[in-house]
Structure formats: C-alpha cells, structure tokens
Amino acid sequence: MQIDVRTVSIEPVRKTFDHLARRFGNKPASRYQEGSYDIQAAENLHYRPTWDPDQELYDPNLSRIRMKDWYDLKDPRQFYYSTYTLARARQQENVEANFAFVEARGLQDMLPEDIVEKSLKLLVPLRHAAWGANQNNTLACGYGYGVVFTQPCMYHAMDNLGISQYLSRIGLLLGGVEALEQAKDAWLNDSAWQALRRLVEDTMAIRDPFEVFVAQNVVLDGLLYPVVYERLVDTYLASQGGQAVAMLTQFMTNWFTESKKWTNGVLKVTAAESDENAKVLAEWINHWSDRAVSAILPIVNSVLDERVDEMVSEELEAFRARIAKTGIQL
C-alpha cells in the first residue's frame, strides 16, 4: 500500500533560470545543466591579460577550432563536480580493496621475478607521462572556452594526477623507493623512453587548448592505454602469472573506457560543425598519432620480444577505426 504524505502544495512561479529556458525550453533543468551552461563570463570583460594582451580573458580564438556555440560540446557522462566526485570515490574504493587484497595475501611477493621486473619497467615511468597529461588537461581547462568543454578537462587533469599516484604506489609496492628512482632515471635517460618524453614535452609546449586536448586525450592516451593496460598488462602480463598487477591497474582500464565516451563525443560534434574543423582535427590526429606510435614502440619492445610491430599496428588500426566513427577522415 502506498501512503501519500501530504505537504503544502504551492505552485512554483517559474521552472528554471532564463539562460537555461532559452537553451532547453521552459522546463526544469538538470543539475548538470544548471552547473555547466553559461556560467562563464561571456561579454563586457574588463581588461586584457597583462601576460598576453593579444588575448581576451576568455578567448575562443586561442584555438584553430571554431564553434558557433562552444556549449554544443556536451560531456555525454554529464559530469559536474558532484557526479564526477561520487564516481571517482566509488572507483577509488575498488582500488583500495584491490591493493588491500594483494597486500594482505602478499601477492606482490609471489609474482614471478620477470613479471615484477617488466611491470616496474613498463608502468612506473608512466607516472611521469601521466603528470604531463595532468599539465595538458589543466591547460585545456584554463584556456579552453565554454564550461561544458573545460570542466571535464579539469576533472581529467585530476584523474591524470590520481593515475600518476596509483602508478607510483604500484612502484612502491613492487620495488620500494628504488623503483621510483630507477623509473625516473629511465624516463630521463633510457633510450626506450626518450621518444615518449620528447612527445610529452612537445605537447606541453602547445598553447592551443583544443590541440592539447586532441594530442593528449584523443591521440596519446588513445594509443597508450589500450597498448599498455589492455594488451600488455591485462593480456600479456596476466597470462604470465601477473594477474595481481592487472588488479592494481584496473582503475586505468575502466577510466580509459569511460573517458572514450567523452573524447568521442567531443570529436563528433566538433567535426560535424564544419569541414574546416574536421580537417584541422584530422591534421592534428595524423601528426600526433605518427609521433605516438613511434614513441610507444620502443617501450613495448622493452617488455615484449615478439609480435611488437604487429600488436602496435593492430592498435593503430583500431584507433583509426574509432576516429573514423566520429566522422573524421584521416
């Protein structure tokens, strides 16, 4: 039996804020809409930046991408602070449980020696790459235009920081502080890592916020995550007795699957806006994916002896197919 609790019923005088009624019609707005649309100052800006007087404080022309309305670039996950934080809090509980599971049973000490060595070699230097990703997403948030595009960049930057911290913890768990020190040395000096480090530093020099988004989130992560986490950790290392390592990187695997929804959505809308946009996106993706492939190959080579080229080209094909689906001709 349902009981209706009676409350005083009074008629609202309006359903939503003016700017949301103009966009979505006169109906109650979602919290994502309230927290995202048009909350960035749009006109009558007071001063030009002293750090670059050619720019406006909020300047859509910092990018070669042109949008009639930057608020078309909606996040399909509809993340605003609350939904984002709750989602990550749940995921970090799983990570904690996985770390606790491994540590409680001493699984890290039962791993075959070469698996430990390969895991350290492959994963721990990537904490620096994740820091580079953090820098790039922070820049995309800081200088990008329109809240629906920039707010997920900030969340992404914090995710990148979280990932770099999880990778550091894997290093500490499997090899202590020395593992972090060796990995940093490899990142700085080992020839296998130099193409990637050069690529990361080059992306950090980009000031077009949309190109940074494409180079980092679409291209580099779009190739690196499937290769490292799906192919090398979840498939190769796990099959060699490294299942415990796969437990510790579960966050990254799930995170990449989730964030693809966002990056695909942004690409699709941006490309559909104009042929010019689609061309610029294709140019960026071609340029940066050539670089990314040559940066990823030596890393894979350092842990895997055979079928390296084949595996990386398969992933490149999968990546190109993914991009084609967003309406971009490479």
Partner: protein, 505 residues
Amino acid sequence: MDTPVNKKKLSLKEKYSYLTRDLAWEPSYQKKEDLFPYATYEGIKVHDWSKWEDPFRLTMDAYWKYQAEKERKFYAIIDAFAQNNGHLKLTDARYLSALKIFLQAISPGEYAAHKGFARTGREFPGVGPQVACQMQAIDEIRHAQTQIHAMSNYNKFYNGFHGFADQRDRIWYTSVPRSFFDDAMASGPFEFMIAIGFSFEYVLTNLLFVPFMSGAAYNGDMSTVTFGFSAQSDEARHMTLGLECIKFMLEQDPDNVPIVQKWIDKWFWRGFRVLGLVSTMMDYMLPKRVMSWREAWDIYGEENGNALFNDLARYGIRPPKGWGDAAEAVDHMSHQFMLALYQWNFGTAFHSWIPSDNDMDWLSKKYPNTFDKYYRPRWEHIKKLEANGTPFKNYGLAKNCQTCQLPCVFTEPGDPTTLCHRETEYKGEHYHFCSDHCRDIFQEEPEKYVQAWLPMPQLFQEPINGDLEAWMKWVSLVDGEDNGDYQGSHDQTSFEKWREMATSN
C-alpha cells in the same frame, strides 16, 4: 624473490613528496621558459621551487573520498529542503535580497576563481604550488555549482534569481566583483595568488563567509547554511595555500618584498570595496541580524588582520596602505551604500526597503557615533516622501569609479558630509575615482584600467541608447517584479500567502 627490495618506511611527508613533487622533471627537449612562459614577467624571483612547503597533503584518492562524503550530505539536505518547502521557514522573504546579490555577484566569482586557479595550476614551474592550485581549481567549480544548485529552488518561487547569468555580465552592481576577478585573472600568476589566494581567501573570506553563513542560519535558510558548511573545509585549505604562497615569495628573494607589498596594498583595497556589498547585507538585509558590519570588521578584519600583519612584519611587510581609511569607513559604508541601492532600486534585481523604526534603533545602537547623526535623518526624510506618495527615486546615473566600479557614493576620510571624489588625466582623458586608493591603483597600471567596462556609460551606447526599458530587457530585469521596494512586491505577497497556507487552515 631474491631482488632486495627497499621497503624503507616512508614518512607521510616523504611519501607525499614522491606522489607529487617527484612526478615532474627538468625538461630537455623543450626549454623550460617555453613550457612556463608567464613565470617571470612580473619580476618575482624564485631561486628554488623545492623550498615550497605543501600547505596540505592530500592525494587524489583521499580527495575523492572526503569530497564525495560532503557532496552526498549536501545534496541530501538540499533535496529535502526543496521537497519540504524549506523556503517557508525563512524569517522573512526580505532576506532573499542577500541571496540574490550572492548569486548574481559572488557565485560567478567562484567560477572565475576556478578558471584562474586552473591557469596558475599550469603556469607555476613548481609541482608543489601547481597541485595545490589545481585542487583549488576543482574546489572552486564545486562552490559555483553548489551555490547555483542551492539557490535553484528559490528561483522557482521568488523573483530576482532567474537572470543571474545575464546580470553577471551586464547589470551595474555585479561589475564590482567581476572587475575584481577580471583584474586578478588579467594579472600574472603571482599577483593572482596575492589577489585571490591571499587577499580574498585569507584576509577577506572570513568577512564574507562567516557573517553570510551565520546570517543564513539566523534567518532559517538551511540550504545556504549547508553549502557554507560544506565549503568550510575547502576554504581552510585555500587559506593555508594563500598564506604559504605569500611566505614563499617573501622568503625566496628580498627583491620580491616591495612587489608583494604593492600587491597587498592594491588587493586589500579592491577586496574591501567588494565587501561594501556584504556590509549592506549584514546591516540592512537580514530580518534577523547576526552582528553589525562594524562588529564583524572588529573581529574578522581588525583582530585577524593585525595578527597576520604582525606575523608578516619580519619579512618587512607592513599593513596595507588603505587599512586606516578602511577602519574609519566601516562606520559609514553600509549606510551610504544602502541609501544608494534604495534610490536606484528600479535598477536592481533584488528588493530594498526603508528600514523600520525597529531596524533604525538597532542601527543607532550598533553605530552610536554615526547612524543618528548622519543617516537616520536621511531615512526619515525618505520615509516622509514615501508617506506623501512621492517616493524618492534617483533616475540620474551615478558616476562609477574607474577602478572599483562602485558608484562614487562614499565620503571623504574624516568628513562624512562631503562626497569623496578623485580624478586624474591620462592621455587626454579624464578618469574618476571614489577614493585615493582607487586612484593610486589606476595610476600604477593606467593601461589596464583605461580598458574597464563601465556599466553606466553603456546605457547610452548600443543597444540601449538611453532607453531604460531596453536596458531592463538587456539585463533580464522584469520591471515591477524583480526590482523596487520590497513592500508590495510579489515576493512579499507570495511569501505571506504561502506561509499562511503552511501554518493555518
């Protein structure tokens, strides 16, 4: 396994350092100055970024966990508030004017701070401050969103909230805080930290948040109290960041001291002018008052400020130049500004009103040296005009201060019966100011401040061309609903009607 693994126990500080500081590296494929192009042009010298002391140590997993707990509570409470018509528990709907000002003028500043901290979180060439700024960036968008979400329910029942996004960029009084945040964002990363991280968060935030949230609690606004409480632990982090940042600059090089001092002078005064809005809210807009603006200033301004500047004296920093004038102005500013808001209330998206006899008695008690002498007679006069059916409206336009953007309604230091007005000439143009300090700020950086968008002259430009009705449309102000006197407003009649329904048969 034979590999000797170094399982040395790390201290929390060491561990945090590995999880943050150690992530970055010295670039060699790109020049450092190309990756961090804005780090030096302000003249601040930093010799060793590793000397930065982390003001708090929070890894992302802990951040997500703590913040999610706060988010769950916050939304549970505001959902319950909406469902149970929590707005009918307010002392009186007059209180909502304070909230309307907050949503139109302060919440957009939270967003601007989000954006600004994302920029400093990228531009500082040191991981310690970068991570701290990034966390503040994500916190600030949280605050903008929780505020909008908390006030969304009021918007459904009361006027004045619906056009906040348009009013942020167009209506005259929001230009005061927006110019403050625009100014900070137009500055380099170090000055931004002094403006927002130090002056706003450390020196002034207590004056904004504590009285505001207490005012909400006193007046039955559980929704606002909830976002206030929920933001408090974030604010504590932001304050320690602001303080660490200033100490870091001062410790890195003695040449930084005069630059920092100049910024402290400027941003204290800029912040103090923004607080003019808060002073009227505290003294005039709360049906049940917490404390006077003067009392709040004594506790949160004077006491905290003195302790802080005593602490900074060892670096050669003195209290801000405008400190003395500010302390004197505290006895006048809320009255002068409320009188201004009342006479221009055709142009505000909130209501104002003539204080009742009761209100005026409270004000005389709280301002024994100024209220009865200077301000009660003016209110009495306005009251008489109102009773005679000729309410006092000023359809003339105020002169805006070129720097702080407030109308020039404040009086001379030491002489509360003479309007204070300063001017200066720059490249053949005249510029007007409300005070010496605002003029000094202009003169330090005239090329910046000549660009200021002034809301009053806008009235005579495209697309308004002096047409008041067109202006109201342009600022999304519904004449007769959002503006004017509270007495007889829709807000008043609806609130009384609904409350009657809720409390009797």
